[in-house]
Subunit: 553 residues, 2 copies
Amino acid sequence: MDIVKGFPATSNSSSQLNVHNIIKHAARNFGRQEIVDRKHDGVLFRYSYLDAYKRVQRLANSLNSLGVMVGDKIGVLAWNTHRYFEIYFSIPGSGAVMVLMNPRFTSQELSYVANHAGLKLIFVDEDMLPIVETFAAECETIQGYVILTDKELDDLETGLKPVYSYEECVRKVEPVYEWPNIDETSASSACYTTGTTGRPKGVYYSHRDVYLQAMMYALNAMMSVKECVFQIVPMFHVLGWGTPYAATMAGAKLVFTGRYSLENLDELVQVLVQEKVTMSNGVPSILRALLNSLLNMDPLPDLSGVRFLCGGSEPPLSMIKEYWETTRAEIIHTYGSTEAQAIVTLNLPKPWLDREFSSEEMWEQKKKQGCVVVGLDAKVVDSNGKKLPHDGKSVGEILLRGPWVLGKYHDAPGSESQFTEDGYFRTGDVGAIDSEGYLKLTDRLRDLIKSGGEWISSVDMENEIINHPAVLEGAVVGIAHPKWEERPLALVVLRKEFRTKVDKADIIEHLGKRFANWQLPDEVLFVEAIPKTSVGKIDKKVIRADYSDIYTR
Amino acid sequence: MDIVKGFPATSNSSSQLNVHNIIKHAARNFGRQEIVDRKHDGVLFRYSYLDAYKRVQRLANSLNSLGVMVGDKIGVLAWNTHRYFEIYFSIPGSGAVMVLMNPRFTSQELSYVANHAGLKLIFVDEDMLPIVETFAAECETIQGYVILTDKELDDLETGLKPVYSYEECVRKVEPVYEWPNIDETSASSACYTTGTTGRPKGVYYSHRDVYLQAMMYALNAMMSVKECVFQIVPMFHVLGWGTPYAATMAGAKLVFTGRYSLENLDELVQVLVQEKVTMSNGVPSILRALLNSLLNMDPLPDLSGVRFLCGGSEPPLSMIKEYWETTRAEIIHTYGSTEAQAIVTLNLPKPWLDREFSSEEMWEQKKKQGCVVVGLDAKVVDSNGKKLPHDGKSVGEILLRGPWVLGKYHDAPGSESQFTEDGYFRTGDVGAIDSEGYLKLTDRLRDLIKSGGEWISSVDMENEIINHPAVLEGAVVGIAHPKWEERPLALVVLRKEFRTKVDKADIIEHLGKRFANWQLPDEVLFVEAIPKTSVGKIDKKVIRADYSDIYTR
């Protein structure tokens, strides 16, 4: 898109949108607002935005002491803690780039990221040291490791060196820092995506991206100083969906989960109720497990007014309903991507639809991904790139454009085809937008199975498989086929009590009620578990690789 | 402030924050939301954001037909109507600059503004034609006048030419417009301030300024699609405080007042109740008069949940209390300036203060101007420019800095002293900021008189009084007035030889040559001497005290 210069304005052209200004604002206006952090031992650590801002400034000073310069890249491997929160501001604010590292990446992927970014330092949570040790030797640019721990350095065992203690670093410097005024188009942070095939690809978010997204998110989610926001989404994912920044901008109380897994959600749920959380977010699998923990509580907590933003993949309507019926908490369906900094759509109600819809239609409406947030531009295009009408029926690829949408991957030759000439990012997601602006995804382009020139939706088929009473989990992928190009393969995990009682013919018969004969999978394999990605999604890449020759051998 | 370049980000650098994108977003997501406009005959006109957006595009097309180019300046003189709302988007969106013209300026001031801006066209409400006729001849750059009217051109009498009908212009073009992608630092609009002595000074707002302010305002005022926003603040003032843009961004229902005066507020109040307004804003004198009209209603309306943002000057606590006690509407104290695009602070509650304060302290708190909004930076400095602590006690001048704060006046040599070297704007307002971030103004450096929401420069008026051959000395101060908030009082010391030969009528007649009727002092008192301070300046504090009840007794 060409940029047209108009008549000059008279505003202060040197004022830049900088990430550190978000917490500076919070310290100034919401200094006494509480921040809570669930430590690994379950004890809750509490401090305030003002305390946090002092430590943020101390950390920025200590980055300078460690030799960090403007433009340096600093990796972070950590759980959701108050220290990660401080890092979220100190590294970008000092002019360096905070590179989020996903502990669920393989060591090959992590070393690739470290080298590709050219990391100078790594900040690492004490119990992620073993992960760093697996790839540190491969990375020549790393000059040191700052360890996030309550312990003394001598009490830790690690082969990494040199190592620094985060707490010592912040202790020995001043709590006042003169922030540089960073060009807002400079990178504040980076996230590497493995969403597509090939090497991880780097998305480098500018200060402006993060600032604008935080403002948009706080506005759309109606965050305020009255809210209590629970940071459940890992902060190593796409800036924790932007939640720590948006909540800080709004002055909301923030609660950090610390380390958790699906096994200890009972503890999280206790914190959620005790701290009077009003807002959180997560992928469907976490929210499902949270609900199970909530349902175990006696008495059942009343979560009236609580909103959970649910993204990553489509939450089942049954779960949305169950949340409402048992706890009065509301699930808000969202859609996003690493390339658009997490939140692209939010399914928010509109008064006129509330008036017109029946109760059943209201529930159906919640299955949509929602409306595109202010600032972003979305369009649906056919396979020739022609724009399709927003009629709720015309299905095509979703393209995104906007100030904080990716324009190119960092140093990733060959990835140019993911962008159009007029500046849109090709999401690879397929869906339709209706006349009210609601996006409904039907598939990922790469999740569509191409058989004899026709498309088969693997997602529809997975949903149908899960509807079978004997099935716990299911996955469907397209596998290369000598005649049809691709044919569907289904993997099924049966519930314990049904093992040995259900076979391929049963599944095929069940699917036959909804799918044409030619669409039915050639093979149905019963497995112990479905491979998952680091973000909990079905890892179709792995499944395709594992069974690549099933139709050709 | 120097700008430090960091590592390059990967975001789409061509996506600009453009004003027209605000209504494009509203049309896409809130297309069916209602916009209401009270016509001059009291009838309510209704349409939707989608309808409005089509007309906005038509108007942009017709601007092109009228020869408007990127960078051209277009004046507007209009009441709060749906047409002005359309103009708010079409002119900036086409790349031209919308210059707000205040019908309460004198014709000298208006012609100065027209020539200083170099207006190419003027959009004018039918019943403001006589105002334009008083200065049009002085302006060589003006090529035509677009009249906002429901009538046919032939039914209007005016000596202006050429004239165009707004409705004809939008009727004969297409409802689809290809918006240019305007460099966001280019001017979208301009407002001239007479806040200080001398000629009006131009503040040219960039697209980015307006976009960021709208986002900040909608966020802070918690605007959403569920709100109904009443545009009471004149749209010829500082972009109507940014309310039309913020409300559109949030998809709120919008109601425009049409023409009104303090005499017909009963009609406005009926609309307010009937349309279920939830938010509005205005200066204290308007809100006082609105409350009087509300109190005349039978039954008294319940305005629970309704918020009025009150700015321009400090609302009396008695009024804030009376609103709450009689209607349950809440007054939110704000502070702003033309140079910072209207809203600088908002007095919003904080949960911890709510818990700690007694009822009396809560009310006292509402007298403060509020906390500085996210994005802006404020400091209090002493007369040497030294930063004072935010302790609620240290009083000094308030300086402002931020992306949408003025960096310089447009083409106004001599005004540089209103800016500091490090990019702050000197507001000329005096106050303190407390540890919670609340600003409390105590005084104004500039002695301006606020009458019905408009400024009268006491210094200008004093200078004019002294120009009278019979006058030795003169002083003008603002005195509290029950209806207009403040009205000017003039003290005059006559030369000996003229005593008994000059009276109030002579002075008023003399001032009438330069000042609008509404600006003229209500009282002119002839005195022996003007009170002076120790350094020989007029002691306005003493004068105000001596005559404090002259308009109320």
